[in-house]
Structures are given as structure tokens and as C-alpha cells.
């Protein structure tokens, strides 16, 4: 498997804004290599903005995002796309596009001006549809698939990019429990192959269970960062979401579990 070398991604004191409105200020973050990082926090805390900033979708007003130590906005876009893949939240596709068509787009950063589809491309394509378990759906149009199948197809596209870094914006937001677990386990498997992954996750419990590293955000700043078992506490939950809870450890996996979640008295 020609999984490319590793690559590092970091934010150095970045300020992100939508038009004039500053969403997040002075964020610094380094994604731990070959681990899964979960970015959590309440609605509107800037977690998706941070992810999009890391993926160079938004240009920071200040500071810089560093890919292998170099400013990501100064690198050729194609070179970046060979190192960093993104699964955005809003992923509409042209009508009638099949899963195979979509996954082939993932090879685009590796293709030259006039170069044809290579053996290397075919291999990456096959691996991606295997990994995301969409081989059986390859010829189906995306608009005929269920939400979970469609999400797996998009993940397959990102996997076909064969990047050492993978960013996912709420990869399980529209999925039922079964499909959520499927996607999270796929993410774990990919990180097991050496990919560095960052994802925005809404559900704190899933973040605890599937992430190695957690970044907790509130009002555009990072308030806590570290392994879930070390940083998740009733106090953190109180600060993030304004609710009270008790904390126990999952007897099966040892990851933190929130129980008895309630509004503040």
C-alpha cells in the first residue's frame, strides 16, 4: 500500500472570521500524528470554522496554518490535496453522479494535466471502496442511496485521495446509531493505518469513545485539550454545555461516560 509518508498539521495563533465577524481568535493547535483528534463544543463555538481553517477553506485573518511547517496558503493547492483530505459537512453532488464517479474524483490531485487514469489510481480506488465498504454500491447514483451509504461514499472519496491527513466535519451527523458506529470504526481503522485524523463531533460520548485526543472549544477559544479520559470531567461538561452530570467509566472500554445529565438546579 502506497500510503504516503506522514505529514503534520498545526495552527499557529490563527484568527478566523466570517466576513467582519471574528469567530475564533488566537487558536493554536497541533494534531498528534497517527491519532484521532475530536473537536467538541457547543453549537456556534467555532469548531467547524477551526476545521475549515485547518483545511484551508477559510483563510485566517491572522496567524497561519502550517502543513509540514509551511504556510498552507503558500503551498500549491494540488500539493496540499495530496497530503490533506476533507469531508465537508455540506456535500451536495451533481445529479446522477455514481459512487464510482465520486470516488474517482478523489484521485484528481494525483493526476496531471493530460495523464490518463493510471494503475496506481485504480489501486487506490479499489482500496478506498473496499475500506469504506461501498464496492457493492459503485454503480449506484448518490441520490438513490441512504444517508449512511452516501456518507460512506464520500469517505471513500477522501480515502482515495491517499493523504496522510484526513479532516472530517461531523461525519456522523445525519446517521442512525448503527451507521454512526460503522463510520467511527472506519475512522479508527484508518488511523490504525497511520493516518492523522481530526473530526468535529457533536456527541461528547462518541468523542470520548473514538478519539485519542480531544480539543474542547467554547466561544471561539480552546479551553481544554488532551486525552478524553484526562480532560473530560463534570466541570468541563458544565462549562461547555451548561449542564450537570456524573461521570463513570465504561466497563467495557474504560472511556468516560456521562450519566444523569440534567439541567442546572
Amino acid at each position: 500500500m502506497s500510503q504516503p509518508q506522514t505529514a503534520t498539521l498545526a495552527a499557529d495563533d490563527i484568527t478566523l472570521a466570517h466576513r467582519q465577524f471574528v469567530v475564533a481568535e488566537n487558536l493554536s493547535l497541533h494534531l498528534p500524528t497517527a491519532q484521532v483528534t475530536a473537536i467538541v463544543g457547543p453549537n456556534g463555538c467555532g469548531k467547524s470554522t477551526l476545521l475549515n481553517g485547518l483545511a484551508r477553506i477559510h483563510t485566517p485573518k491572522g496567524g497561519s496554518v502550517l502543513l509540514d511547517g509551511k504556510d498552507i496558503h503558500r503551498l500549491p493547492s494540488k500539493e496540499v490535496a495530496r497530503k490533506l483530505a476533507l469531508l465537508p459537512q455540506d456535500n451536495t453532488a451533481p445529479e446522477g453522479l455514481t459512487v464510482a464517479d465520486l470516488v474517482r474524483f478523489g484521485r484528481q490531485p494525483h493526476q496531471g494535466w493530460m495523464t490518463q487514469w493510471s494503475k496506481e489510481d485504480q489501486r487506490a480506488f479499489d482500496q478506498a471502496i473496499q475500506a469504506a465498504d461501498v464496492a457493492g454500491l459503485a454503480d449506484r447514483a448518490l441520490d438513490t442511496l441512504s444517508g449512511g451509504q452516501r456518507q460512506r461514499a464520500w469517505i471513500a472519496m477522501a480515502v482515495a485521495q491517499q493523504t496522510p491527513l484526513l479532516l472530517l466535519d461531523e461525519p456522523t451527523s445525519a446517521l442512525d446509531l448503527g451507521h454512526q458506529i460503522e463510520v467511527f470504526e472506519l475512522i479508527r481503522a484508518l488511523s490504525g493505518q497511520g493516518k492523522t485524523i481530526a473530526m468535529v463531533v457533536h456527541d461528547l460520548a462518541s468523542a470520548c469513545r473514538y478519539a485519542d485526543h480531544m480539543v474542547a472549544m467554547k466561544n471561539g477559544t480552546i479551553i481544554e485539550e488532551g486525552a478524553p479520559a484526562e480532560i473530560v470531567s463534570p466541570e468541563l461538561v458544565q462549562e461547555l454545555y451548561g449542564v450537570s452530570c456524573d461521570l463513570i467509566h465504561d466497563p467495557a472500554t474504560g472511556s468516560p461516560l456521562l450519566v444523569n445529565v440534567r439541567r442546572n438546579p
Binding site: I57, K78, V80, R82, L86, P88, Q108, P109, W117
Partner: protein, 329 residues
């Protein structure tokens, strides 16, 4: 990835275009057999046939072919950039503005520029204004289209005012432009269009992968390594150039830009911007519409722009009224 379906579609459309070209050449007041037409093209027909085909008709057919292809490609491109099927240069006022400028040069508003240059200037001006009025969303979103419609209306009115203020001979000379016709072409404009089309096509082919990614959201396009700003600027520039040059030859036959890409999109595989197929379809449409205009009520000639409007308008209504309008492609 070998793409059999699109290659097949392009071959079929090319066949249609060749057929339309030969029939267009053969048909007219003097009817020439298809065989004699081909002989004349090969250069060994009798002098009279040779004159009718190569001197009288060929230049008109070439003008129609090139302008149809250019309008269709410009439309396909603009629709992709705006991610909206309605966003063709004709609808967002670029045709009308190019026409207004071209008419100005014909009726002699003091500027003695060639129609090509004037039409280009008009097209560029309209786009720049629409772009400015659209605000931060650029070509995406309805503001661009609505602003363009307004500019098109103003440009149309300006054309009418100019025609009503000049001597009747000058107005007559400029009139074909206002409805779209292959009668008013100048050899020079056709030549400039041919060169622009060839150059534009080459640039677009080199950009085709990047253009394909514009069918997704911006985030996906960027993630796939597309240089979004550069691709948009080049695409918009080419769309404006092709429209301006085509209008300087045939006037605002805008609906070609709506119909041809639609046919191309229906035939080709989804996920690719069908520029070649659209160009071939547009060239065929223009020739067929011109042929109908010349023959239906002969010896009376109906301008090609009116034929495409009669065929195209119901289609435009259908796009606007169909039950679940989905975004482009």
C-alpha cells in the same frame, strides 16, 4: 479513466454537425445536391456550383458554426461557475450589453471600433457590473442573476433608443443585430471569433478537471486541489470573451447558450462539464435554426434569433416551472 459514453456522444454530435453543415450548404434559392456540395467543397465542381457553395454559403455556415459553438460553450461555462442552469450569458444580460455596444459602433456613436472589440467591451462591462452588484457571493447565488437581468434590460433599452435616434439607413444596418441574424456578419469578426474560439477551447480543455470540481461545493473543490479563484476568473473571462465575439458575428442568439448545454448534459455522463458536447450541439443548433429561418417562409427570411426564441422560450419556461428545481447538473 476511459470515457466511452462521452466519446460516443461527441462522435454522434459531430456527425450531426457535419450533416447540418452539408445540408445548410446545399439548401437555398439554388438547390444543390448533397453530392455536388461535397464536390464543390473538395474543389472540383462546375464554376457556378463552386460560386454558390464556396463564395455565397460557406462563409455564412462557418459564421453560424463558430458562433453557435462559442455561445454554447460560454453558456455551459457560466452555468457551471454560477452553479445555476439559468445563469447563461443571454439571461444575465451579457448578450444585450454586447449588442448595445456593437450597435453603437454600427450606427456610429463616434467610436469607430470594430464590432468585435465593441461587443467584447460591452460583454465585459455588463459582467463587471453584475459581479459588482452581486456582492460577496460572486457568481454564486441569485443576486448575480437578478443584477444581470436588470443590466440586460437597460442595455436592450439603450439599443432601442439608439436605433430610434439615428437615420433609417443606419438603423436598418444595425437591426439584424438586435434580433440575432447571420446576415450582418463581417469577415473580420468571424476571423476574430474563430481565433478566440480555438484559443478558448484549448484553455478550457486544460482546465477541464478543475471545472469538473466546481460542480461540488467550494469546500470540496478546494479539498480536491482546485485553485478556486484562478479557475473562476479564467472561466468567467473566457465566457465573456466567447459571448462578446459570438455576438459581434450573430447578435444575441442567447437561447443557444441555454439549450445546447442542456442537451449535452442530458447525453453525457454526469460529473463532467460537457464543454465539447455543448459546443458541437450549439453549432448544430445554430445551423439548423438558420436553415429553418431561411427555408420556412422563403424567400422571406426569419432571423435565426427569432427561431431559437420560438424553440427555446417554452424550454426556459419549463426550467422555471418544473416541480422540483434542483441545482445545476
Amino acid at each position: 479513466m476511459p470515457d466511452k459514453r462521452n466519446a460516443l456522444v461527441n462522435t454522434a454530435l459531430l456527425g450531426l454537425l457535419v450533416l447540418a453543415t452539408i445540408i445548410s450548404l446545399a439548401t437555398g434559392t439554388v438547390q444543390v445536391s448533397l453530392f455536388d456540395t461535397l464536390r464543390a467543397l473538395a474543389g472540383n465542381a462546375d464554376p457556378i456550383t463552386d460560386f454558390v457553395i464556396n463564395e455565397l454559403r460557406l462563409s455564412r455556415v462557418i459564421a453560424g458554426l463558430l458562433s453557435g459553438a462559442a455561445l454554447a460553450m460560454a453558456g455551459c461555462l457560466m452555468q457551471t461557475l454560477a452553479r445555476n442552469r439559468l445563469a447563461t450569458p443571454g439571461i444575465i444580460g451579457i448578450d444585450n450589453a454586447a449588442t448595445a455596444f456593437a450597435v453603437a459602433s454600427v450606427v456610429g456613436v463616434g467610436l469607430s471600433l470594430a464590432p468585435s472589440a465593441m461587443a467584447l467591451a460591452g460583454a465585459a462591462a455588463a459582467t463587471a457590473i453584475a459581479f459588482g452588484l452581486a456582492g460577496a457571493n460572486g457568481t454564486r447565488g441569485y443576486r448575480f442573476i437578478v443584477a444581470g437581468i436588470g443590466i440586460g434590460a437597460i442595455a436592450g433599452a439603450v439599443t432601442q433608443v439608439m436605433l430610434s435616434r439615428v437615420a433609417i439607413d443606419a438603423a436598418n444596418a444595425a437591426y439584424p443585430w438586435t434580433v440575432g441574424s447571420l446576415n450582418a456578419r463581417s469577415g473580420q469578426s468571424v476571423l476574430v471569433l474563430g481565433m478566440g474560439l480555438a484559443a478558448g477551447y484549448l484553455v478550457l480543455m486544460s482546465l477541464s478537471r478543475a471545472l469538473n470540481t466546481l460542480q461540488f461545493t467550494d469546500a470540496v473543490a478546494i479539498a480536491l486541489g482546485t485553485r478556486l479563484k484562478a479557475t473562476r476568473i479564467i472561466g468567467l473571462g473566457l465566457s465573456v470573451m466567447l459571448t462578446g465575439l459570438a455576438v459581434s458575428v450573430c447578435g444575441p442568439v442567447g437561447l443557444i447558450a441555454l439549450l445546447a448545454p442542456e442537451l449535452a448534459r442530458a447525453l453525457c455522463r454526469p460529473g463532467k462539464v460537457p464543454l465539447t458536447a455543448a459546443a458541437l450541439a450549439g453549432a448544430s443548433f445554430m445551423l439548423i435554426a438558420d436553415l429553418l429561418g431561411r427555408t420556412l417562409f422563403a424567400p422571406l427570411e426569419i432571423p435565426v434569433g427569432i427561431i431559437t426564441a420560438i424553440v427555446g422560450s417554452p424550454y426556459l419556461l419549463w426550467i422555471l416551472l418544473r416541480p422540483s428545481p434542483r441545482s445545476l447538473t
